[in-house]
């Protein structure tokens, strides 16, 4: 279940939100101040880091390492070390990187013939063959969480030991991007162990093998000597699950770990001020969309009202002041670097409170409107703070927001039954514009909160257009359609913020196409 669907993931923020009551948050703030105090005293020297072994603090322990069972954020981060895909997209620009598949061709628009690298070994020494690839597709198709990634795959044929042919139901422009989520598992070992045991003691053909797993305590990965791409550094990676942000930071300060995930924004400055530490950030990794229920009998039925909401938000101020720059502004479905970004249409919903007021008046609401906005605390970076500012900005044009605090499970449940006014969807940065749209529109169109014929048509067209230039144009049209008749409040895509020991040469170049990251990259 490779893809990092954020709703399923036990993301740190989510857990924190679910776990701690308001007073805890306050306590954390107090503690944050104390951290500053302690640092001011200046007794924070730590030994330099030796890179043969890298210790990393993530937010949780996965339940299983089987990619077709556990698709939590942490699960995928780990799976990326143990397994290979046919192809991945690596680095900040998502460069297409052939892994198990050395090359491929399209004999026709719905056929993909993959030629596997010869001599690739699983950790038990057995060769990776076409049978394993076919088996992995079958696992993905049977997995409730991964099946969406291979939804248009109708047949997988083994042509010979090193050739696999994949048939799709139609031309599938986003197939390769989706295959970044399909990890190749060893058929023989999986079947011999059984699914449950495999998930506890998996082997793959990835650059690291599982050396040890003390539940809740640590996972030790060792560099695989026989890796086809050459042995990776560091030799060992020790991963510790630490759910509490302050504790992760304390471990980083004392040199207990070299790298920590989800550095709290409050602590960024103090990490920057410490010469032993460094902040690492990945721009715009989590896209936050706010779906609007356009079908219920509220003022939100009127597209002018939905435009007005978008127009009344001063996103630059929010990103600068509340998020301290750790986000990219979004005024439409795609970011600047993503396929389909439409610079003209991007201006359409940019901050313009006068226009927002005028549109409300036009729509017949000169005295403003009341809307309910569902929020789950801890679901995204500084969610409560951001939404409070948004509510204030909307108030200025006459839109009175009632923030409805829900637990994440309840929030998503209400969305699935179309019982909401403005909700929330989190979606990891994706390689392909189709996978972005598929993610955010899937719910909307099945639940009919927002169904726009043009949008639906363009989505299918984009998926089926193989020519890159033509495809770019389709997504630009889609962008325009989605801002002119907005079904979402577009706000921002937030960064992923990490902390590390300055001596560690780990960096974020490591992003992979499944929203995972690879801890071994230099």
């Amino acid at each position: 279940m490779g893809h990092v669907f954020e709703g399923t993931g036990a993301h740190a923020d989510d857990l924190a939100g679910a776990r701690y009551e308001r007073w805890w948050r306050r306590a954390t703030a107090t503690v944050g101040a104390l951290v500053v105090l302690v640092l001011a005293v200046g007794n924070v020297s730590a030994q330099g880091n030796t890179e043969p072994e890298r210790k990393v603090a993530l937010t949780a322990d996965p339940g299983s390492l089987d990619p077709y069972r556990d698709n939590s954020v942490v699960g995928v981060q780990l799976q990326g070390h143990l397994f290979d895909q046919l192809v991945d997209f690596r680095g900040p620009d998502f460069t297409q990187t052939p892994l198990v598949a050395e090359r491929w061709e399209n004999p026709d628009p719905t056929t993909w013939r993959f030629h596997l690298r010869k001599g690739i070994k699983f950790h038990d020494g057995k060769e990776v063959t076409a049978d394993d690839v076919k088996f992995s597709f079958e696992l993905a198709q049977a997995s409730p969480t991964a099946k969406a990634k291979v939804a248009n795959v109708v047949d997988v044929k083994v042509l010979d030991r090193h050739t696999v042919e994949v048939k799709t139901s139609g031309p599938a422009a986003s197939l390769l991007a989706n295959l970044a989520f399909v990890f190749i598992l060893p058929k023989a070992d999986y079947q011999a162990k059984g699914a449950e045991a495999f998930g506890q003691k998996p082997i793959g053909s990835g650059p690291y093998r599982l050396e040890r797993w003390d539940k809740g305590q640590r996972i030790v990965l060792a560099a695989f000597d026989g890796y086809w791409g050459g042995k990776k550094m560091p030799n060992r990676i020790v991963i510790r699950p630490i759910s509490e942000g302050s504790t992760r930071l304390a471990e980083l300060l004392t040199g207990g770990v070299d790298v920590i995930t989800d550095l709290p924004v409050e602590n960024v400055q103090q990490v920057r001020d410490n010469r032993d530490l460094a902040v690492v950030q990945a721009k715009g990794i989590r896209q936050i969309f706010f779906p609007i229920n356009t079908k219920a009998d509220t003022p939100l039925k009127d597209k002018r009202v939905r435009q007005a909401i978008n127009l009344a938000i001063d996103r630059e101020t929010i990103v600068r002041d509340v998020l301290q720059g750790f986000a990219d502004v979004r005024t439409g479905p795609f970011g600047v670097k993503q396929m389909g970004y439409n610079p003209e249409a991007a201006k359409f919903l940019a901050y313009n409170p006068q226009k927002a007021k005028a549109l409300l008046k036009d729509a017949g609401y000169p005295n403003g409107i009341d809307v309910t906005w569902n929020l789950c605390r801890g679901c995204w970076l500084k969610d409560t703070e951001v939404l409070e500012v948004v509510a204030n900005q909307l108030k200025a044009v006459g839109i009175r927001v009632k923030i409805n605090l829900l637990e994440v499970n309840q929030l998503l449940g209400n969305q699935n039954t179309a019982n909401f006014q403005i909700g929330m969807i989190r979606w990891s940065r994706q390689v392909d514009s189709d996978t972005i749209i598929a993610g955010i529109q899937a719910q909307s169109s099945t639940q009919k909160w927002y169904a726009d014929e043009e949008v639906d048509k363009l989505i299918v067209k984009g998926r089926e257009t193989l020519d890159r230039t033509a495809r770019e144009k389709v997504y630009q049209d889609l962008y325009r359609a989605m801002v002119e008749d907005p079904g979402y409040v577009f706000l921002h895509a937030q960064d992923s913020i990490w902390g590390k020991r300055a001596a560690s040469d780990w960096n974020f170049n490591a992003f992979a196409g499944n929203g995972s990251l690879t801890l071994f990259f230099r």
Partner: protein, 305 residues
């Protein structure tokens, strides 16, 4: 003694069944696992299929009957997330929680009871006031906050102890102290008031009249009588400690049941939550049974009906 034990053990069964009803209903009322376990791209049909596959589409009474039937065979179901045996997954984490809770209770007893005795014996003294002030402060501070504070002071600043994790006795110190601070205040106050109560009773006066040493009077005579309510409180506090362990475990990344079950609740992994609550309830009930037996040892009157 034996019939008493047998009777008490028999009473455990209805109590546990009661626990299963409560946890079974509560977790189901609180949300649907398909929201977080399935991706947003899942269609309503996918969600129905998931529910059917895991028997969640059946009437709740049928689900419960099925659950109890399996329970008597020692089968607590499989995790909805990774399909592992829920009981195995919980039992794997249990030793760490027991270790932490037991260590915390030990610290609480070793500090709390002597503090209470001293406060009682020197009632009104500066020591008494300090001890009671400390108890009040300890009771008012949130476990979470204390935990982080201790980490900052003893791990980040002084570097005496490791920050988090479970790698030997040094790792146990900070979490055990944190959790003990949850139990210690009540224990100290209880010991103090209980001691004060017996302090003026006839048997203490008799002991004093016999010319016994003050220490003997306190430890042999007064304390033994005073301990009965304290022991009761200790048993009840153990339940609180298990709850407090959830917070302590997440602050110190302690690999116990607490952090694990929190995650399961969040994902609405019903079988795991059920198994965890049931196991923890069993531990709690057995501990209290043990404490009741201790009670019998302390107070012979209880033995004979």
């Amino acid at each position: 003694m034996l019939p008493y034990l047998g009777r008490r053990l028999f009473q455990v069964i209805p109590t546990l069944l009661g626990v299963t009803v409560v946890v079974f209903l509560l977790i189901r009322v609180s949300g649907d696992p398909t929201q977080l376990l399935l991706p947003e791209t899942a269609t309503p049909e996918d969600r129905d299929l998931f529910r059917r596959q895991h028997g969640l589409d059946r009437p709740i009474a049928v689900q419960y009957a099925h659950f109890v039937g399996n329970l008597f065979r020692g089968d607590l179901g499989r995790s909805l997330v990774d399909e592992r045996s829920a009981l195995d997954a919980v039992l794997e984490r249990l030793p760490a929680t027991i270790e932490l809770t037991a260590a915390a209770m030990l610290v609480a007893v070793l500090v709390g009871i002597p503090a209470g005795i001293l406060a009682a014996v020197r009632r009104g003294s500066l020591l008494d006031r300090l001890a009671m002030l400390g108890a009040l402060a300890g009771q008012s501070m949130a476990t979470f906050w204390i935990g982080i504070l201790l980490i900052l002071l003893f791990a980040v600043w002084l570097r005496w102890f490791p920050v988090s994790g479970r790698d030997g006795p040094m790792h146990l110190v900070l979490p055990a102290v944190t959790l003990s601070l949850y139990m210690m205040p009540l224990l100290a106050r209880m010991t103090r008031s209980s001691m004060l109560e017996v302090w003026h009773q006839d048997f203490v006066r008799t002991a004093r009249a016999k010319g016994l040493r003050e220490r003997t009077i306190i430890l042999r005579h007064a304390l033994k009588a005073a301990l009965i309510p304290v022991v009761t409180v200790l048993g009840l506090q153990f339940g609180g400690a298990l709850a407090g362990a959830i917070v302590t475990e997440s602050v110190f990344a302690w690999p116990g049941v607490g952090t694990f079950v929190l995650d399961a609740i969040y994902k609405r992994d019903y079988p795991v939550v059920q198994a965890a609550v049931l196991v923890v309830a069993t531990v709690y009930i057995l501990t209290n049974l043990l404490i009741d037996l201790l009670y019998v040892a302390l107070d012979p009157r209880i033995r004979e009906p």
